[in-house]
Subunit: 297 residues, 2 copies
């Protein structure tokens, strides 16, 4: 995610600094390549950093880390953030802005969601399969809608200038729940059943289960005060039918033996739902199955 959106922003003329935890030497020498269906974006030279210490103060710090490494945020955010800068949490799941807010303060945190099918296929090399839209929103610790502020619109404009279709969300937390309507069924079931999105859609039982889980996520969101229209289920199913066969990022993590984003994508939504009085038994089932598989792998 960081490589993809950072490359687009740099291509549009913005000064971008990439912090890499691996591949830094390779990317310094060879830059970043985004392979798309009809286009290829090649950046021969990028500012690739191995440490936050060499990054100059930034107006916007985009966090595109896996949520499983959010324990690094105190270290990562303190230094590169300019005095009036903001942090943009480009991650999935719930509770990630709170983790950044604990470091830099609630009023300096924005959130973002990426609607994209893309996978890293090598050092500095990203395969862009489908979609690419971004949605941005203001964070509020109380979960209320943060509204669309000038600073939010300004960042959205920068993304648009970088040819990233970008919208602003009145209610970031509601948007996060909406994204979970897709993420919760497909990520978990692709790992648990060791399969791809297209095969889930083709099997009548997997498809019915995806739909039931989507409805449960909408019920969980409703319990938490975030209304998602029922028709959204149909739209998510249709969108996925049109997608190319896709291995979810969680399946790639699982196959590679990396930690899965169970906490942000399952445990926190489940805890929020149960605290609001809705037990969400399907989400609980998927979460516990994922944890077993993660612990056993």
């Amino acid at each position: 995610m960081g490589g993809f959106y950072g490359a687009r922003l740099q291509q549009a003329g913005f000064e971008v600094h990439f912090l890499l935890h691996s591949d830094v030497q390779y990317v310094r020498e060879h830059g970043i390549v985004i392979e798309g269906a009809n286009r290829q974006l090649i950046l021969g030279r990028v500012n690739a950093h191995a440490s936050v210490d060499t990054i100059p103060p930034c107006d916007v710090v985009i966090v595109a880390l896996k949520t499983t490494r959010n324990d690094l945020l105190p270290h990562l955010l303190a230094k590169p953030l300019a005095p009036n800068g903001v942090v943009l949490m480009l991650q999935n799941g719930l509770g990630v802005e709170a983790e950044a807010a604990a470091v830099v303060g609630e009023d300096r945190v924005l959130g973002g969601l990426c609607f994209i099918c893309a996978n890293k296929i090598g050092p500095g090399r990203i395969l862009h399969l489908d979609y690419g839209d971004v949605m941005l929103g203001e964070y509020r610790a109380d979960g209320a809608p943060g509204g669309i502020t000038p600073r939010l619109e300004a960042i959205a404009e920068d993304f648009r200038a970088a040819q990233v279709p970008t919208t602003c969300a009145e209610d970031l937390l509601r948007s996060r729940w909406k994204k979970l309507v897709w993420n919760i069924p497909y990520n978990a079931l692709s790992v648990i059943l060791r399969t791809t999105t297209d095969r889930l859609m083709q099997n009548p039982d997997a498809r019915a289960l995806v739909e039931s889980v989507m409805r449960e996520v909408i019920a969980a969101a409703a319990a938490c005060g975030k209304t998602i229209e029922e028709a959204f289920v149909r739209k998510m199913l249709d969108d996925t039918d049109r997608m190319k066969p896709y291995k979810t990022s969680m399946m790639l993590d699982f196959e590679a033996g990396r930690p899965m984003e169970i906490e942000a994508l399952y445990a926190r939504p489940l805890a929020a739902s149960q605290a609001a009085g809705f037990p969400a038994p399907m989400i609980e089932t998927l979460m516990r199955q994922l944890r077993f598989l993660g612990d056993s792998s």
Copy 2:
């Protein structure tokens, strides 16, 4: 199951005829061996049949077939059943007596449950790992308790004479639901998570999920008018903690590429629960996951 209990009955002096769908030639030549922890039961000569046509009329026809082959019942039951004989359905799940009753009539069907850990390990060779008790009950098409009849007691006595600890159930359908409290979580999760009972019990999330599923099965049973006490969950967990590491029969079927007993163990209990107004989302999740895995294997 058929080999195990048939061998015990023959050993006790009863005339037993075994119908085998494979291994018949081997068993005719070598008999049946039951390997136990502390004892071995060797029957050098048994009546092994390749077809129902050679079986004489029997007072009790014990059906120990996988429920996935209950489509064979019309063919299997018509011939060997003596004019006053009864059919004993020694299978797991719901609805199996109804399948026999459709062939021989409601009043000639009994049901039974086996509490045993045993696996076939070769032709005519059975490994008896743990337990071995049997519970028998009268079938009633309306699901009401059938009570303990003289013919039920007589068959129970025969099993006891064969050193099989046997009890009679007032309410067969309630006993079937109780058995599902164990079968539904362990069979499904062992297949879906590709593991054994002991590893499920050692992992905190798998263990919590087993317990949640057990409580849902009890709620489903209650919706269907069959009350199972909450303390039964504790007993099932404790029993499983004491069991030797065990691959469930469904996991063995799955690994061997054989059909799994999804219909009798999941689809029928789920349909009964939903018809009674309780949605049973965890059972639905497990059923659909199993069906996907069964269709994909």
